[in-house]
Symmetry: C2
Subunit: 188 residues, 2 copies
């Protein structure tokens, strides 16, 4: 999803400034499935203005720089509806962790255990954070999205807990320090 559409969508939920959009994407329900930086948000808002999809009223504040509040126009609402009509592109998941698992195997197998151990804690934290979001007043949509996130995170966590032993003691080539108590995992 390009940033223009993302901004359009966020503005469909209510007026916002560029700063607020950035915050929503970095925290809140959006953080689980999107990301955008100022360097893409501000140009996107500029283009949306030029296309007539959003308007901007500058709210002069004393002792603060002007706040530029963007609002969706009727034209913008139609453009968003149109975008939502076509099927969403498949998800893009990027995981340095999974890459590291694959690469460590050939280059530093003794590191895999730590990697998984750390990851388990990260999943636990992520789950706590997501469940914390469910406290505020949320729409059915954002509850759905957050719970979707919780479900997948929990599945990942359980997978790691079940399978972390599958690696231990395997091909201990040279390291030596990594075969503390070889577990009797199902031979194979």
């Amino acid at each position: 999803m390009d940033i223009k559409t993302l901004c359009l969508g966020i503005l469909s939920l209510g007026d916002a400034t560029g700063y607020e959009i950035k915050k929503m994407v970095a925290e809140g329900s959006f953080s689980f499935f999107s990301e955008a930086s100022y360097g893409s948000i501000y140009p996107a808002l500029g283009k949306l203005m030029a296309e007539g999809f959003v308007t901007c009223r500058a709210m002069a504040q004393e002792k603060r720089p002007d706040k530029k509040v963007y609002s969706l126009t009727e034209l913008g609402r139609e453009a968003l509806t149109q975008s939502l009509r076509k099927n969403p592109d498949p998800d893009k998941n990027r995981s340095e962790f999974l890459a590291a698992i694959l690469f460590c195997e050939s280059v530093a197998p003794e590191r895999v255990d730590d990697l998984i151990e750390d990851r388990i804690h990260e999943h636990e934290q992520k789950i706590t954070a997501l469940e914390g979001l469910l406290a505020g007043d949320m729409t059915p949509g954002s509850i759905f999205v957050v719970e979707y996130g919780v479900a997948t995170q929990k599945a990942a966590l359980e997978f790691l807990l079940k399978n972390q032993n599958k690696f231990s003691g395997q091909s201990p080539k040279g390291a030596g320090a990594n075969l503390r108590e070889v577990p009797t995992t199902a031979a194979e």
Copy 2:
């Protein structure tokens, strides 16, 4: 993970051409957690050459453009090991589907059911595809990665099957066709 490290990692599993690297990232076990285009792979290989991390031997083929096979050097292997030493960055998940759920709510709520229905089929296909990968000869690492993928995909699928009714019949503004049998989900 930047593309240079990704290339280094893939080459640690065996020699490859730029074309082959692209294929591995687009299909195979890598497709689940990484992505890269020619426009980033070729420049990355060029830089890795300049840094002495990879070598390249051109294999002249008749009736085809030269095949440039890249190999990891010992220096490159050390650089990769070094990169793997630091903790992997958190995953980045981008989902147009989840965004669409949120945005549809305010702009086209009658579309949500279709969105979920389609998504269920996509998850089923993805699971089949991932499980298909498990047939070939795989290292423990790639089995782990693929099964991690299967686990999360299945969790997502189950979540959607369980919760797809949570949306039906809610704020049926104008559509009318979407309130077939309102389920008695736990009132709340």
